[in-house]
């Protein structure tokens, strides 16, 4: 049994691959026609919001496909084609970019789920010859990625959305994209509650602070500091899990406050967490307290 069992070998990135253009304009356009029919039939059965969502995805997919067929004629021709198809699907082309052999299209569809409620559903799609995506995309969103994209109200910028050359295969088959990006739900894993206590801003953290949830903690600390909090205490007593990413965020806040003349303390009384601070030597960086009272000066003495 070798560690590489079952893993296909890939050349290292960045490594320009050879474009393998296996598509042709007529195939692309036939695909577009087929999916237009499929999408039209499917779209009528569901609610307004879902329809808008679906419509945006379809428009993005088809726009990207139409554009991809004309990438060879240049960015203008490709994006004009994408815009026409998006418009035919009652969507507005928001952005269009050609990246090597690929085209990335983002569209918006207006939806009115209730008379007074206006929303937009947006979706992005990338299309191009199979096998080209990985090697030609820029590092920031590179990759032989899956297909897909699509999120109501445009929560995700297009560049955050994994898109890929397989998109057009999905579309040609007239099936819903296989790889959806679910709405981000951080609340289930991480809780953040700020209050003022004894002249300090106390941020009570609960749940799991890891590579996925740490950005929320970073954001919240930044908001508090931006809003003028200078004496900040982070209460970790309800934290079940803390990893290096979370520790990095705490160090970042500590440094920022120290640079601006503020203070930063941590409340941590549970042994498993204290062990993490000891092993990483961060107990020598942070003032650690065993209670909020101690951290805010209501009672003396750090535990560390």
């Amino acid at each position: 049994m070798t560690p590489a069992t079952g893993i296909k070998e890939e050349p290292p990135l960045p490594c320009p691959g050879r474009p393998r253009d296996r598509g042709s304009a007529s195939l692309w356009l036939a695909a577009v026609g087929l999916v237009l029919v499929a999408a039209g039939v499917a779209g009528s059965a569901v609610g307004v919001a879902t329809v808008a969502h679906h419509q945006a995805r379809t428009a993005a997919d088809l726009g990207a496909l139409a554009g991809a067929a004309r990438v060879v004629e240049g960015t203008d021709a490709a994006c004009r084609s994408a815009a026409e198809i998006a418009s035919a699907n009652r969507a507005r082309l928001v952005s269009c970019a050609v990246d090597g052999w690929e085209i990335v299209v983002t569209v918006e569809v207006a939806a009115h789920p209730l008379p007074a409620l206006n929303r937009t559903a947006s979706a992005s799609a990338r299309a191009g010859p199979v096998g080209v995506a990985a090697r030609q995309a820029t590092p920031s969103r590179a990759g032989p990625s899956r297909a897909k994209t699509g999120q109501a109200q445009g929560q995700f910028p297009a560049s955050d959305v994994p898109v890929g050359s397989r998109r057009w295969l999905d579309a040609r088959e007239g099936v819903a994209p296989a790889h959806r990006v679910p709405p981000k739900e951080v609340g289930m894993e991480l809780s953040l509650a700020a209050r003022t206590f004894a002249g300090h801003t106390v941020l009570e953290v609960g749940g799991e602070v890891d590579v996925y949830t740490a950005p929320k903690l970073r954001e919240r600390l930044a908001e508090l500091i931006d809003a003028g909090a200078a004496k900040v205490v982070v209460d970790l007593d309800r934290v079940d899990f803390l990893d290096s990413t979370g520790l990095g965020v705490l160090v970042g806040a500590h440094k920022r406050l120290r640079a601006s003349g503020g203070t930063f303390g941590l409340v941590c009384s549970k042994e498993p967490l204290l062990k993490i601070f000891r092993i990483t030597a961060l107990d020598q960086v942070f003032p650690l307290y065993d209670s909020v009272n101690a951290a805010t000066g209501a009672a003396p003495g750090p535990t560390a």
Binding site: M1, T2, P3, A4, T5, G6, I7, E9, E10, P11, P12, L13, P14, A134, A137, T138, P139, S140, R141, A142, G143, P144, S145, R146, P162, G164, K184, E189, E208, D210, V211, Y212, F241, D243, S244, T245, L247, G248, V249, V251, G252, K255, A259, P272, I276, I279, T280, A281, L282, Q284, V285
Partner: protein, 152 residues
């Protein structure tokens, strides 16, 4: 996993996205518990698997790799977890634990600090730890071993 190997193995592959690291931790701890790893070690197993996977995800993102991260958990008289990334080797082996005075260094970026802290956690929590190039192809394997109770 081939049939002739007489041990229990669970393999998990996940797209290199932070959201899946938690899943890997949960699976890793579940398999550890089943393998007979002592309850008091499970927190360390959870943290170490999380760190190894976080590191792999960060490397894949850094290099723009969409290849999945592979986690193999096997139980063969001991509990072994191997986390394999596909990033160029020089990146994988460039890890080093940071000394305490470095941690407080103002110029240290959060990313560099996180990497150093992550490695410190792995080294601190796993007695039997190896970080080495994969046998075939490109990538690094983080191999962690914990004892299991016998007679389970």
């Amino acid at each position: 996993m081939t049939a002739e190997i007489a041990m229990s193995t669970v393999r998990l592959e996940f797209s290199p996205a932070p959201v899946h690291v938690r899943t890997a931790r949960l699976v890793g701890v579940a398999v550890a518990r089943r393998a007979g790893v002592a309850e008091e070690l499970l927190d360390e197993v959870r943290l170490a698997i999380g760190e190894a996977c976080t590191r792999a995800v960060a490397l894949h993102q850094q290099y723009g790799l969409r290849d999945p991260v592979l986690v193999e958990m096997s139980d063969d008289g001991e509990y072994m977890v191997r986390v394999t990334d596909r990033a160029p080797i020089e990146a994988g082996l460039g890890l080093a634990a940071l000394p305490p005075d470095e941690l407080a260094n103002e110029s240290l970026t959060e990313e560099a600090l996180t990497v150093g802290v992550g490695f410190a956690l792995l080294a601190g929590f796993v007695d039997d730890l190896q970080v080495r190039p994969v046998d075939e192809g490109i990538g690094t394997e983080v191999r962690m071993v914990w004892p299991v109770r016998h007679g389970r």
